[in-house]
Every structure is written in C-alpha cells, then in structure tokens.
C-alpha cells in the first residue's frame, strides 16, 4: 500500500495539515510526516508515491485516493516551481522526516562532519573560505574569515552561536530549516566547532517559533552522541526583535537586557561571556555540511555572481500568488522572482512595490526589477538583500503609511542604547505624520515675541522633507546597529519612489 506523505511544517499545520493527515489515517493509510517542499500556496500538500495534491482538505481524501482529485499537480519534483531551483541547503525539503536520523544519514547526512573531522581545523576553515560562503543573516560577511579570526584568537573557551532569531517580516527560511532539517544545522555547528576549537554551542531561537523549538530540542537530544564532545544548548528568545543583532543576542543569552554592544571588540574576539565566538545565521551554518562534503566547496563557489557565491534561499512572501521557498544561485532578477516564479500578486492587482530584506530593507518599484540578487548590486542601489525575504505589495499599498510603520517599528523595538535610533525613530514618526497632514502652524507659545529663536512661519513641505532626509542621514550614520542604521532605507525609498503617498 502506498505511503502518504504530508508536511508537519508550521505553515502546513496552520493550513490544516493535521486534519488531512488524520483523514488519511482513518482511510487506513500510513501517513509519514515530512518537511515542507516550500510551495506554500499548495499546503497542505499531499504526496502519494511522488504525485502531489494540494491544497488538500479532509474532504479531498476520497478523490485523491480514487484518482479523480481536481487538486492533482502531477509529479511534485517536476513542478516548475521546484524544477527551476537549485537546492543545496534545502536539498532534503519535502523528502525526509525531520527527526529521523535514518533519513538524514541516507541522504548524505554527517558526511560533511566526518570529512571535516578527518581534516586539520585550518583546512576546514580554508574550505569554507574557498566556497565563498557569506553570512546569510544580512550583513554578508565572509564566514571563513570570521571563523579564522575565532580560531586564531586565544581563549580558554570558544563558542558557536547560531542566530535563529528570524524576526524579519517576509522571512521563514530559518524556521523551515529548523523544522524540516534540524540535523543539518547541528552538523554545521559541529563542523564550525571543529574548525575553530569550540566546545559549546548555543542556538538562540525566537519564542514566536514554538514548533521549531520543539523540533530542535528533540534533534539536539537525538544527535548529542554524534556531535560529542561538542555540546549544544537551546535558548528561547523573549520577543525582542533587536536580539537578532548579534551583540544584543549575546547579551540576551547571557541573561541581560538585549542591548547592542559597541563594536569593536568584534564577537569573534570578545563574544559570549567575553570569549571568542562565532555568531552565524541558521542558513549560513546549514550550508556548511554541503560545503565540507567531498568537492562541496568548489561546487558551491562555482555558483552565483560576483562576490556573492553559492545559493540563496529566497523567500517569496506577502501579496504573491505562488509564495514559498525558492533556493537559487545569486544573480536572479526581481522580475523573474516576482512575476515568472511568484506569478504576480495574489490579489490579481498590479504590483506596486516589493520590500526586500525585511523591515529594514528598501521598497523597490517595478521599474527597477532588473536588479540582480547580489549583495554588492543591492548595496549600490541603497537596498539590502538581508535575509532574502521578498514581500510583494499590490497597488492598494500606501507607501507613506508603510514608511511611518518602519519608523514606528524601530521606535517600538529599539534597544534604547543609542540616541539616533531611540529618539530619531520617534521624531521620524512625528515628522511623517506632519508631512502627511500637510504641515503645521506655529502655536501660540512659539508666536510669543520673547521666543526669539522659534520660527514664526510654518515649515513648507519641502523643508519638512529635507528635515526627514536629514534625520534619516543621522540615523543611518550615527546608529550603533542595523536597526536604527537601516530604518532609513524603507523610509527614503518610499519617499523617493512614491512621493505622492506622503500627502
């Protein structure tokens, strides 16, 4: 009898996967719970001997079993959404049971760690450097150089910290990886530990991801003997967005307020508990097992464009018809991602803007959709790749309101340590409100003759806009971390491309 495979990824569960699985079990079928293929508009996606049906409901079960279902999508692996991808980090997505060591090993699991442990630590780092892997959390710092710094720094103890505080709206690749292939992350951390000589690792997961936490806890326990003497501990965040910033994350693990630390010293030199620490994103560490497998570094380096090597798990989100996880080599254009692959908006209305890189990323208008997915190309365009999330907005979006939201979000989530972020964001909200309301007149106190320095005439719209740009420049140049530093990107990109939305 055929085995029915249904994902137990949080998104599939939120769309009713458990109910569909229960219906198949009632019909006498054995249901295997696997990771998600990442075709989110088809979830819950039912896989019967490689043939797909979705989005399925319990009422569809009879038709799926007798072959008359209108929700058939054919062979899953041949689906155009998957056929166009090149999956390395997400090679197991949809195919394996997340907590099965047997499945993991049968699909090449632990090969990278075995090979790494047969090499000198310096050679492990050389492989990572040669692959061109850069940090996937947003900053794009070369992973090999970070590891080398930690390896060369003297320290009684060293740590591997996995940043799994995926707070950016429009991103879910870390969550899918942790829920779907947790052993890959553990293997990547163990390889890093061998490379730099660390004995202990921490995974800092945000509290908004209960399913990922449960899976990781189980996976860490199952794999403990395999990665020993390296130990991994899980730490749950407590709802602070800023803890995705690496130094604030370290403070949070240490049990302090999640305030950003001034750099230098870099965490690679003085990180967790003052010891040399590798802080890498989930996707960075999960890419490592592939790179350390025989010939993996060269295969990885052969993909991509410019200084952005390898693949990026792009996340298609927001108002998009075919949303989900799309892993491709760097260099793909936004037009391909949004229109050819994503199928345009879910609402059917024209695309107005996309925000790439989370709440701190720039809004990009359709005229600039030729921009290739590459760290340097985005930086040159005053935009961010960030964690690779793409949020699509249709023409009903009010860009002035979204610019205000960016400032408001920064004000709510600022750790409070530096002034440009803490106060600038609040002034930014006020200023955008003022501009959208058409300015304000001087009040009675300002008009008093003894208020020599107060303006007597209202600021014009142009003067207010200059003030907003000035404020953004101060935040960009003066903030300690990316929260205050990059909030100007969504604000200014919205202002420059859609000035009409600002009143």
């Amino acid at each position: 009898m055929s085995v029915v495979r249904i994902s137990d990824d949080a998104l599939a569960l939120a769309c009713g996967a458990d109910e569909v699985a229960a219906a198949f079990e009632r019909a006498g079928y054995k249901v295997e719970r696997v990771s998600s293929w990442g075709m989110h508009w088809l979830e819950p996606l039912v896989d019967v001997d490689g043939m797909g049906f979705g989005p399925a409901t319990p009422e569809d079960v009879a038709a799926i079993l007798d072959g008359s279902s209108v929700k058939a999508i054919g062979r899953i692996e041949d689906h155009p959404f998957l056929a166009r991808q090149q999956r390395l980090t997400f090679a197991r997505a949809g195919k394996t049971r997340p907590l099965s060591l047997e499945d993991y090993e049968a699909t090449g699991g632990w090969a990278g760690l075995k090979r790494a442990r047969s090499l000198e630590p310096a050679q492990v780092i050389a492989d990572v450097t040669a692959s061109g892997l850069r940090g996937r959390g947003g900053a794009g710092f070369p992973a090999g150089i970070k590891w080398k710094t930690v390896a060369q720094t003297q320290g009684e103890r060293k740590f591997i910290v996995c940043n799994a505080d995926e707070g950016d709206s429009g991103t879910f690749a870390d969550r899918m990886l942790m829920e779907g292939d947790p052993f890959a992350l553990i293997e990547g951390m163990a390889i890093a530990a061998h490379g730099v000589g660390a004995g202990q690792g921490y995974i800092y997961v945000r509290s908004e991801y209960p399913h990922a936490i449960a899976k990781l806890e189980a996976a860490v326990a199952l794999a403990a003997a395999l990665v020993a003497p390296f130990r991994i501990e899980l730490r749950k965040g407590a709802g602070a967005y800023v803890c995705g910033e690496e130094t604030s994350l370290l403070n949070s693990i240490e049990g302090r307020r999640g305030e950003v630390r001034a750099k230098p010293p870099l965490p690679a030199i003085e990180g967790l508990f003052g010891c040399p620490t590798v802080v890498n994103n989930v996707l960075t560490l999960a890419a490592v097992p592939h790179i350390l497998a025989e010939g993996g570094a060269a295969r990885y380096a052969a993909l991509g464009m410019g200084r952005s090597r390898g693949t990026m798990p792009v996340q298609l989100a927001g108002n998009i018809r075919h949303g989900g996880l799309f892993e491709v080599p760097f260099g793909i254009s936004l037009r391909e991602l949004v229109h050819d692959i994503g199928g345009g908006t879910a609402s059917g209305r024209p695309v107005k803007a996309v925000q790439v890189g989370g709440p701190l990323g720039a809004y990009i208008p359709p005229e600039r959709f030729d921009l290739p997915f590459d760290y340097e190309a985005y930086a040159a365009a005053d935009a961010l790749i960030g964690h690779g999330g793409i949020v699509v907005f249709d023409e009903s979006a009010d860009m002035g309101r979204l610019a205000r939201f960016a400032m408001q979000f920064c004000a709510a989530e600022s750790c409070g340590k530096c002034t440009p972020c803490r106060i600038g964001s609040t002034r930014g909200v006020e200023l955008i409100d003022l501009i959208r309301a058409g300015g304000r007149q001087a009040d009675s106190v300002e008009l008093l003759p003894q208020m020599h320095n107060a303006r007597k005439s209202a600021r014009s719209r142009e003067e207010n806009l200059v003030l907003l740009e000035d404020l953004c420049e101060t935040m960009h140049d003066g903030s300690l971390c990316a929260l205050g530093g990059f909030t100007p990107y969504p604000v200014l990109s919205a202002l420059r491309n859609w000035p009409g939305d600002f009143g």
Binding site: A10, S169, G170, Y209, K236, G239, R257, I320, G323, L402
Partner: protein, 148 residues
Amino acid sequence: MLWYTENVERSERLKGIVAEHSGREAQLLPILHAVQSAFGCIDAEAEAFVAQALNLSRAEVHGVVSFYHDFTAQPDTRPEVQLCRAEACQARGIEAMVAAAEAVAGDRVRLKAVYCLGLCSAGPNARVGDRLHARLDEGSLVRLIESV
C-alpha cells in the same frame, strides 16, 4: 521577608524553578520564561526571589523583565489571540480586519499585535497558544476570536 513565609506554596514553586535551572551558565532568561509560564506574570515578589537566588540585584532582574515583550508584570487571565501585523500580513490585508477583530474581542479577549509568525506567504496569520492559523479572512478571524 514577610511574603516568603506567607506564601509557602508559591515560594516552593519558585524554588523549584530556580533549582531546575541550576548548574548551567546564564540561566536568567530560561528562569524568567518558566516563571512567566507558571504564574502568568513576573511580579515584584518573583523578581526579588529570582534576584536573590541568582545573586543579582533586583534592578538587574527588573531591567531584564521590563526589556522583553514576552514578560509581563501583571497577570492577565483573559484568553490571548496574537495577530501578526508586520509588513507581509499588511500586504495581505490584515489592517482592514483589525477593527472587526477588536470589536468582537472586546474586553473578553486580549488581542496582541505581534511582528511576524513566520508564515509570511500565507497571511494574515494568528496564533492562539501554540496553535497557528493562516489564510485568515475577516470571517474566519472573527470566528477564531469568538472560539477562544
């Protein structure tokens, strides 16, 4: 310390939580999570107890409690519905549903805005306990709030 003797059961539970986490490094956050989930809040008494147990000042513990959104100083026994109001859910129309959600929630249900549940291709999304809900429209969101 009066409260210590007055509320033996409560302090026994606090002691238990602290003991469970002893022996490992930097346990403040895990302890605070456990206190929040056991009592529904971290009040001044609990702060003082944890501070003493970990040899920290009350100010240090209070600073941490007040920094994080997940920790609250007062208990709220109402059922909670977390509604994602981040950009991706905004792009899928959550803002237009908020008024209806607030109307049906009233004082009975606590509606909490959260910024991203990680289901950004299938919004608007909500979370009740550890159960997630995706692809909500106004009708299903209202029914969800009514059902908690």
